[in-house]
C-alpha cells in the first residue's frame, strides 16, 4: 500500500526526521490560509497523487507570493496529472501540499528497500539527487552506494560511516547529521513494516542540515493488520475503482489495454494465460485471478468487472482445477450468465479435477456464446479468433 507525500511526512515528524514545514489542503481557500500560516517568503505547491514524476508533469510549482499560491492552487487542484508512473489517462489531483521553500545547497538521494538477494533491508544513497534513480543506475551505477543492514544486528555505526564517506561528506557535523538521519529512517522502515521509503531529493541546506524534500512510502500489505495507523492512511480514491471492487470479492484484478478478458485461477497461470493470448496474436484486456475458492457469485462478479471494459470482445476462462473442482466452476459460469448479461463469446477451458463432468455440464447447458476449448493453447486460439470476429 502506498501513501501520499504529506502522510509520509507526518510519519517523518514522529521520528524527528527533518522536513520543511507544510500543510495538506483540499481547496484553494485552504491553500491561501495555509500559505499565510507558513509565512513564506517562498512556498511550494505540490499535487498529492500516488505517482512519481509529479514535478515534470507540472504538479509541483514554486510560488513567491500568496497571490501566486492561490493562482497555482487553482491551476493544479482538479487537474489530471500524467507522469511516467501514471497510466496515459493520468490521475486527478484532489489534494495539495503547501510547503515552505527550502534553502538548497546540495540534492542527494536516499532510500530503504528490501534487497531480495541479501534478504535484508538495503540503504541506497546517491549524490545524484533529484534525478530518476533508474536513470542514474543505468548511466552511472558507480554513483549509487548500497548498504545492506542485517536486522539481527540493526543499524550500526559502520553502516553510518559507509553512508557518510560514500556520499563524500567530510564535515564532521554533517557526517553526524546524515548518520542520524539514516538511522531514524531505518528504524521507521522496520517498525512500520515498510516495503520501501524513498527520499528524492534529500537536500543539504547551507547550514549542513539534511531535509527530506520529497517522500515516497510503500508498506507490506500483509502487515497492515498489525499497523492500524498506517492502514488508516489508505486513500481509496488513488486506487483503481475496479481493482478495489474486485478485491472485495477476493478477486485480484488489473486492467490492461487489450481486447480479450481473462478469468483464471492462480496468479502464475493468469500471467501465463495473458502471455499465451499474446503469443497467439491477441491482446489481453486484464489480469484476473479468481483465487482458490471461486464460486458462482465470484465468477459472476468477475464477468461483471471484465465486461465493464468496453474494449472486451471475448472472454477466456482458463481454469486448472486442483483443489478447485472444475464442475463447480462450470456451474458457476452457468449461474453467472443468469446473474450478468454476458454478451460476448466466452471461451472456457477447464482442466484437472472433474474436467470431463464440467465439459458435460457446459455442453448440456447449450448456451450459444459459450465455446469449450480443449486445452490451453486451443482455448487461447479460439478466444483470439472470437475477438477478431471469426
Amino acid at each position: 500500500m502506498n501513501i501520499h507525500e504529506y502522510q509520509a511526512k507526518q510519519i517523518f515528524a514522529k521520528y524527528n526526521i527533518p522536513t520543511p514545514k507544510g500543510i495538506m489542503v483540499e481547496s484553494v481557500k485552504a491553500a491561501v490560509t495555509a500559505a499565510e500560516e507558513l509565512g513564506g517568503p517562498i512556498w511550494v505547491v505540490k499535487a498529492q497523487i500516488h505517482a512519481g514524476g509529479r514535478g515534470l508533469g507540472g504538479g509541483v510549482k514554486l510560488a513567491k507570493s500568496i497571490d501566486e499560491v492561490e493562482e497555482l492552487a487553482n491551476e493544479i487542484l482538479g487537474m489530471t496529472l500524467v507522469t511516467h508512473q501514471t497510466t496515459a489517462e493520468g490521475k486527478l489531483v484532489q489534494k495539495l501540499y503547501i510547503e515552505d521553500g527550502a534553502d538548497i545547497k546540495d540534492e542527494l538521494y536516499l532510500s530503504v528497500v528490501l534487497d531480495r538477494k541479501s534478504e535484508m533491508p538495503l540503504i541506497m544513497a546517491s549524490t545524484e539527487g533529484g534525478m530518476d534513480i533508474e536513470t542514474v543506475a543505468e548511466n552511472t551505477p558507480e554513483k549509487i552506494i548500497t548498504i545492506p543492514v542485517d536486522p539481527a544486528i540493526g543499524f550500526q555505526g559502520f553502516h553510518g560511516r559507509q553512508l557518510a564517506f560514500g556520499l563524500g561528506i567530510t564535515d564532521k557535523i554533517e557526517q553526524k547529521n546524515i548518520i542520524k538521519f539514516a538511522e531514524k529512517l531505518y528504524r521507521l522502515y522496520m517498525e512500520n513494516d515498510a516495503e520501501m521509503i524513498e527520499i528524492n531529493p534529500l537536500v543539504k541546506t547551507a547550514k549542513g542540515v539534511f531535509l527530506a524534500l520529497d517522500a515516497k512510502m510503500g508498506f507490506d500489505n500483509s502487515a497492515l493488520g498489525r499497523q492500524p495507523e498506517i492502514a488508516a492512511m489508505r486513500d481509496i480514491a488513488e486506487e483503481d475503482a475496479d481493482e478495489v471492487e474486485a478485491a472485495k470479492y477476493g478477486l485480484s484484478y488489473v486492467a490492461l489495454d487489450g481486447e480479450i478478458g481473462c478469468m483464471v485461477n492462480g496468479a502464475g497461470l493468469a500471467m501465463g494465460t495473458m502471455d499465451t493470448i499474446n503469443y497467439m496474436g491477441g491482446t489481453p484486456a486484464n489480469f484476473l485471478d479468481v483465487g482458490g475458492s471461486a464460486n458462482a457469485e465470484t465468477v459472476a462478479k468477475g464477468f461483471e468487472i471484465i465486461l465493464k471494459n468496453p474494449k472486451v470482445k471475448a472472454i477466456f476462462v482458463n481454469i486448472f482445477g486442483g483443489i478447485v473442482r472444475c464442475d463447480r466452476i462450470a456451474n458457476g459460469i452457468l449461474e453467472a450468465t443468469k446473474l450478468t448479461d454476458v454478451n460476448v463469446p466466452v471461451i472456457v477451458r477447464l482442466d484437472g479435477t472433474n474436467a470431463p463432468e464440467a465439459a458435460e455440464i457446459l455442453k448440456n447447458a447449450n448456451i450459444p456464446n459459450i465455446i469449450v476449448g480443449n486445452d490451453r493453447g486451443d482455448g487461447a486460439a479460439k478466444a483470439v479468433a472470437a475477438a477478431k470476429g471469426n
Binding site: A137, S252, V264, L269, F320
Partner: protein, 290 residues
C-alpha cells in the same frame, strides 16, 4: 528426487486441527504421505485424523521422530511457527500459508538457516515426490511417476506443467512449488543442483515469473554445472510495469526482473525457453528425444 522427501519421510503438520490444515492433511494421508502427528497449542493429547496432537513442535519431534513440518498456521503466526520448527530440530519446513508479513519471513528464514533447517515457501503449493509423498496442496492425481523434475514459483502453473509433461507420456520425479513472495526458502539455486544430482531425473521444467532476479542467478549455475536439459517458461511477458500481479514479489521495477531479461539470460545458458506455457509438454518431448 527422493532425497528431499520420499515415502519414508515423517511429517508433522503445524496448524493441524484448523480447517485448511485438516483438509489438506487428510488429502496428503490419502496420497500416502507419512503424517505422524500435528501441533496445535492447547490441543495436546488429543487425536486428530487418527494421529496424535501435540502442544509444541519439540514434543512432536521427540515423540514421533518427524523431520519435516507442513505449516498451515494463520499469516501472523508463520514467523513464530517456522522459528519453533527450526529450534525443535525439524530439517525441512514447507510453508503453505499465504500473506505472512515479509519482515517476519526475513527473520524466520535467517533463524532457520542458523539452525540448519531448509524452508520451502511461504505462499506455495508445497513439494511432491510422485506416487510417494505429497507435502502441500497440489492435486496428487496429476503427478504420475516419471523422469522430469519440476520447479515453479506459481502453484497453478506447477499443475499445468506437470499435466502437460504427463500428457506427453512422461512423468514427474519431484515437483517443488517455491512460492512467489519476496522472501522464499529453497529456490532454483538450491533445487536445480539436487535435480542434476538425482539419478532418476533426466530433464527439468523450470517455471519462473517477473520480479526479482532468481532466474537470472540460475543462468550461471546451469552453464557451469548442468548436463541435463532444462525447459523454462517465464510468466508475465505481457505484465505492465510497476503493478503487483497477484504475488507481492512480481513487480517489475525499472529494467530489473522483466520476463524478457530472464528469458534471454536462460536462453544464453542453453535452456529451451518456451514463450507460452502451452508449449511446455512438447518442449520436454523434444529435449528427451521422443
Amino acid at each position: 528426487m527422493s532425497s528431499l522427501v520420499n515415502k519414508d519421510t515423517k511429517v508433522i503438520v503445524q496448524g493441524f486441527t484448523g480447517k485448511e490444515g485438516t483438509f489438506h492433511a487428510e488429502q496428503c494421508l490419502a496420497y500416502g504421505t507419512k503424517i505422524v502427528g500435528g501441533v496445535t497449542p492447547n490441543k495436546g493429547g488429543q487425536e486428530h485424523l487418527g494421529k496424535p496432537v501435540f502442544n509444541t513442535v519439540l514434543e512432536a519431534v521427540e515423540t514421533t521422530g518427524a523431520t519435516v513440518s507442513m505449516i498451515f498456521v494463520p499469516p501472523a503466526f508463520v514467523g513464530d511457527a517456522v522459528m519453533e520448527a527450526a529450534e525443535a530440530g525439524i530439517k525441512l519446513a514447507v510453508i503453505i500459508t499465504e500473506g505472512a508479513p515479509v519482515k517476519d519471513m526475513q527473520a524466520a528464514k535467517a533463524h532457520a538457516t542458523k539452525h540448519g533447517m531448509m524452508t520451502i515457501g511461504p505462499n506455495c503449493p508445497g513439494i511432491i515426490t510422485a506416487e510417494e509423498c505429497k507435502i502441500g496442496i497440489m492435486p496428487g492425481s496429476i503427478f504420475k511417476k516419471g523422469n522430469v523434475g519440476l520447479i515453479s514459483k506459481s502453484g497453478t502453473l506447477t499443475y499445468e506443467g506437470a499435466n502437460q509433461v504427463c500428457n506427453e507420456g512422461f512423468g514427474i520425479t519431484t515437483a517443488v512449488g517455491i512460492g512467489g513472495d519476496p522472501i522464499i526458502g529453497l529456490s532454483y539455486l538450491q533445487i536445480l543442483p539436487m535435480f542434476e544430482a538425482d539419478p532418476e531425473t533426466e530433464a527439468i521444467v523450470m517455471i519462473g515469473e517477473i520480479g526479482g532476479d532468481l532466474e537470472i542467478h540460475a543462468e550461471k549455475l546451469i552453464i557451469e554445472q548442468f548436463t541435463k536439459p532444462v525447459v523454462a517458461f517465464i510468466a508475465g511477458q505481457t505484465a505492465p510495469k510497476g503493478k503487483t500481479m497477484g504475488h507481492a514479489g512480481a513487480i517489475v521495477s525499472g529494467s530489473a526482473g522483466t520476463a524478457k531479461e530472464k528469458m534471454e539470460a536462460l536462453e544464453a545458458a542453453g535452456v529451451k525457453v518456451v514463450v507460452s506455457p502451452a508449449e511446455i509438454g512438447k518442449a520436454i518431448a523434444e529435449v528427451l528425444g521422443k
